[in-house]
Symmetry: C2
Subunit: 383 residues, 2 copies
């Protein structure tokens, strides 16, 4: 009766072109065709990330967590001090990971749902003036908050210009404004199943020229995740170890139209469109009595708190009954919120369809709403 829809903040819907690419004949990863695929993926990733040729995009067969571990263990020596500032599950994970890997970590955990105040970054930096790296998340997928990375990076550069800025952009890259070079970021991590609209299984690490220099003077403490080895070979389309080449073929099918749009209309227009879609979804939800859990919503997803007494989990279950898979919250806000994303193969008409789905799902939950109010609000917002 209902079509199956994926509206979670990753994995996202993939396009028929991606599906077709995934079903192509098996390539050998050492063949010239496969090398051309890897080289093309790196070109397209640079376009989607809005970075110049100076930035090295590294493709890894792993999840985003794997790529974060690769960046950390390849750039930061085990005896160095690492700082972490967070306001959500993923930000907290990076501190936990750094501790598990044996680093000395100073961290500041802030209230979930809020955007990290730059003053908190300042306090952390002033208390730890010799830290080697700061770990920070741009779009916190557990709470739906976008952190002000530009201001955080500005403060970091002022207080400790030698410190490395390592950024989890897993759900922000290709969605939110993100300027690796202008903001002075050293490493930016993302994953294939988010804005790039490909299946999960690949992760990306974008390295600044400074990070590349440091890479050459630091010994990685990992082996599979040794980025020095990858940097050496990926420019030629090789990878240090056997890659998930079929997924890279699929990734290119996903990235080609995105890159074409960015090259034609500019990356600012691309970001603006993503923001407008997400904002329309928020206005639609608000017109239906929902509120946003995040004070400063990321364009990658909305984290809805339904009108009382409906829980986020009830809304999630009602959406699922109508074929649409969103995501509940995690840990302490497991039942409180319902997370919805328009990333991936998704346009304004899909958004309009979703407005109807949200209305009827809220009605299923017994919400006291006017049929058509959500649809009207979304369509008005996209006008």
């Amino acid at each position: 009766m209902y079509r199956q829809r994926l509206i979670a903040p990753g994995p996202v819907e993939i396009s028929p072109a991606v599906q077709a690419a995934l079903s192509a004949r098996q390539l050998h990863h050492r063949s010239p065709e496969a090398k051309a695929v890897v080289k093309r993926a790196r070109e397209l990733l640079r376009v989607v990330a809005g970075v110049s040729e100076a930035i090295e995009p590294i493709i890894l067969t792993a999840s985003g967590t794997g790529a974060f571990e690769a960046v950390l263990t390849s750039l930061v020596a085990r005896e160095d001090q690492v700082l972490s500032i967070s306001a959500g599950k993923f930000g907290e994970r990076w501190a936990d990971m750094a501790k598990a890997l044996g680093y000395s970590v100073q961290e500041k955990r802030l209230e979930w749902g809020k955007s990290i105040p730059v003053s908190a970054v300042q306090v952390l930096l002033e208390a730890n003036p010799n830290a080697r790296a700061l770990l920070v998340t741009h779009s916190e997928t557990s709470t739906g908050a976008l952190h002000d990375l530009e201001q955080i990076a500005h403060m970091a550069k002022q207080k400790n210009p030698e410190m490395l800025l390592i950024v989890d952009a897993i759900t922000s890259l290709g969605v939110a404004e993100l300027r690796l070079e202008a903001w002075g970021l050293d490493a930016v991590i993302s994953g294939s199943q988010k804005a790039t609209g490909a299946p999960p299984g690949l992760a990306f690490a974008f390295l600044s020229t400074r990070a590349l220099e440091i890479l050459n003077s630091t010994k990685s403490t990992g082996y599979y995740f040794d980025l020095r080895r990858e940097v050496k070979v990926q420019a030629t389309g090789e990878t240090a170890f056997t890659p998930a080449i079929n997924l890279i073929v699929g990734l290119n099918a996903a990235l080609e139209p995105i890159a074409a749009e960015i090259l034609e209309f500019g990356i600012e227009a691309y970001w603006a469109n993503k923001k407008a879609l997400n904002n329309a979804l928020l206005l639609c939800a608000k017109a239906l009595g929902c509120s946003s859990y995040a004070d400063s919503p990321s364009p990658a997803c909305v984290t809805l708190v339904p009108p009382e007494p409906i829980s986020g989990r009830e809304l999630w279950a009602a959406l699922l009954k109508r074929g649409a898979r969103a995501q509940t919250g995690q840990d302490g806000i497991k039942d409180k919120i319902c997370r919805i994303s328009f990333m991936g193969h998704f346009d304004r008409y899909d958004a309009l369809g979703f407005a109807g789905l949200l209305e009827e799902s809220l009605l299923d939950c017994g919400a006291n709403i006017t049929r058509g109010a959500g649809v009207a609000a979304l369509w008005q917002a996209l006008g």
Copy 2:
């Protein structure tokens, strides 16, 4: 004019069923459908590996090297001594990896192409009676040699029963006789793009009950590759981090017919069939003046040395001109050998077709052979 063929020792040809599975709609890895996929993959992997329910098969999104790192860093403490015995590039890699990861490594590198003599294992073990782990490769893909893992394991158990036996079975699992439980192996590593006939991007670690106990008392020095975390969740179809779920869907499509065949005819018959196919290929090549580089050929691939003055690389290039991608040698034997594998979606009639391809490719290289001799030898061998 010629159809494209993949005859390298991985990635191998995938079946149309695998291609179709790869092009299915995107699953969310936390959905019940995805969990059922992961659980089914684990059941099928147990059948293909010929192990009981007591053995834990762990699926990782990584290459085989990643899985080897995961096993090593999850089971062996950094201060423990590791032994490595090898006679080829992959065996040598495990010693290099262990060193890079900070272990104290005692290794014995033997001549490439030879099967590891059990006496050499004995000498290494007697010289290092307190070693915590022995790293050994079952089928050495760089040389095409199959090592006598049963005898090596027997010697290891005799000399140091407390020592862990960590086995690279990347190209042997599902091809060569391999008895994890009967031989007392503690960890066996394999990859999706070999005998299982799926695309690359997934790796497997099979852990013995003893390894599982040790896992609980050892702190992993990695994070993404922390197997304790994976063991806890994979029984329920979860994974610790976002997996390449599309590849697991493809993997199941590849494993279903293999597991069905094993369940119907027994794993011995399955291994015998793989061995017979590879043996027929060897006899065909010998009838055409080629010899085997390996003294004790693995059923996973043949490593051909063509008749003088033709180099392995020339044969490789001639095969490629006729659409078939085999693999050259590596490092010191780069040009000497041509590696060919019948793993994956490949049967006796494909083998017969290949005999003709090998004949004509050798003729292209100027070999002094009788047309039909290779075809007759192969077909006779398969009779």
